[in-house]
């Protein structure tokens, strides 16, 4: 397989960014306490790889648990909301209201209820990420072509038949689009909760490193977060391509 220029550019840009960063730190003699150079960050990553890996794993599993809850709940609620216009109209404002609460504000409450630990992180990840799933599933269902619905209803199809044969497969692209957003949000939720009150996780590690003035380690934590975030996004991007490939290819049929 030939490697196209397009495949190299992301790597090239990342490397260039690090080189610029390193150069800037050297050139302007920036104190490593303000902004550590990439070389120092990588050194910290090598030195603390044990704790970094352990805490990354905690963040990963709280994110995943919160996200899975959000997927199950989000699809369920999305189907209910998309089922009929009346429910859609009734529930939508409630959900908008709920979604507009900054979830950071909820974390202290969760900590009061469940104590410091992994449960608040899981719940924050869940609360922050279910909304886009609900909205997208509901939208996918609500925008089923009326003619197609007529065709099936004239055949004697029940609402359930229409949902199973048309509505739910049709939400696929909407759902996977939402999953990519939701996994990133869940990650944000978990880390935010960990920085406020937890005894493990990358957020917790960074807060601790910060209070010990270990800036390279704080940045090493950031780097670990970035890597983890990209990996999770990539997993869902690949899944999306696999599962709903028709949605990508059908855009090319516009000419037909």
């Amino acid at each position: 397989m030939k490697i196209a220029a397009e495949d190299i550019t992301p790597v090239a840009f990342t490397v260039a960014l690090f080189v610029l960063w390193e150069a800037a730190c050297l050139l302007f003699r920036i104190d490593s306490f303000i902004l550590p150079a990439p070389s120092q960050i990588f050194a910290a990553m090598v030195q603390y790889w044990g704790p970094l890996l352990r805490n990354s794993f905690v963040t990963l599993w709280t994110t995943a648990a919160g996200f899975l809850l959000a997927v199950a709940f989000g699809i369920g609620l999305g189907v209910v909301v998309g089922w009929s216009r009346a429910i859609y109209r009734g529930l939508y404002p409630v959900m908008i209201g709920f979604n507009s609460i900054p979830k950071v504000a909820v974390v202290p409450i969760l900590i009061m209820w469940f104590g410091i630990g992994e449960i608040p992180a899981i719940l924050t990840a869940f609360l922050i990420s279910f909304f886009p799933i609900v909205v997208n599933v509901a939208t996918g269902l609500a925008t089923t072509e009326p003619e197609l619905e007529d065709v099936l209803r004239a055949l004697g199809a029940s609402k359930l038949d229409i949902m199973r044969k048309v509505g739910i497969p049709r939400t696929g692209p909407y759902l996977f689009g939402a999953l990519k957003v939701a996994i990133t949000l869940a990650f944000v939720g978990a880390v935010v909760s960990e920085t406020i009150g937890a005894n493990a996780g990358l957020g917790h590690l960074m807060v601790q490193a910060g209070s010990n003035f270990q800036m390279p380690l704080v940045f090493a934590g950031l780097m670990a977060l970035a890597i983890e975030g990209i990996l999770m996004y990539a997993v869902f991007a690949v899944m999306e391509k696999r599962m709903v490939s028709w949605a990508f290819r059908s855009s090319m049929s516009a000419a037909g």
């Binding site: 007529d150 004239a154 055949l155 038949d161 497969p169």
Partner: protein
Amino acid sequence: MIRLHDVTLSYRGRAGEVTALAHTSLAVGKGEFAAVVGPSGCGKSTLMKLVTGLIRPTKGKVEVDGAEVTGPVKIAGMAFQAANLLPWRSVLDNVMLPLEIVAPHRGRLGRERDAYRTRALDLLGVVGLRDFADRYPWEMSGGMQQRASLCRSLIHEPELLMLDEPFAALDAFTREELWVVLRDLWQRLGFTVVLVTHDLREAGFLADTIHVMSARPGQIVETRRVAFPRPRPLDVLYDPAFTDLVHSLRNKIAEVRQA
């Protein structure tokens, strides 16, 4: 096969009460090919929904196959201007979709999958799509999608085929090709057709009877029998008598649009 007795349909629109159809009576015999023509917005699509039982008349009575329509009639197949094929299913699976829903077939489909598959492939063969059965809708042209859509509306062997401007979005040559396809399917299978269209040549070429509707509120203002012998070749389109028919229909529609 289809009878409308003095049917009125009105609904509450944004600007108050809208009467889509007023005191309409219509009869279509078994096996007949009926066309409904008229200016846009004359309630032709409403008529389709009434006959298939998707909506109920405000006044009057709709009968299909001797029984009053009170809910969706299950003996109808439908096709619209947009082919509306499901992009995640292959052409064959799209055509077989009604079999997964219509009563006697949905129970048998699991056991007799191969027999039904053969039937779907045969039908696709009639419209010239046999080699495209495993393709996806978005890999095909508009005309091919519309052929597949016709197959989907016929796979469960409905006694009644309802077509709502099925060829309106196609170019002139493809449209004529599909007229021939529809003509042949109808002559082969002998179902009853109601074709809603505003293409007068299409109505004249295909139909036994043409019903002309007036602008809103819709009403059937004229019914005309088309006498050209069957099977009709495409050449009939260039027959002086055919031109006269289209011309007089055209005048009639111009007249009702003025009113």
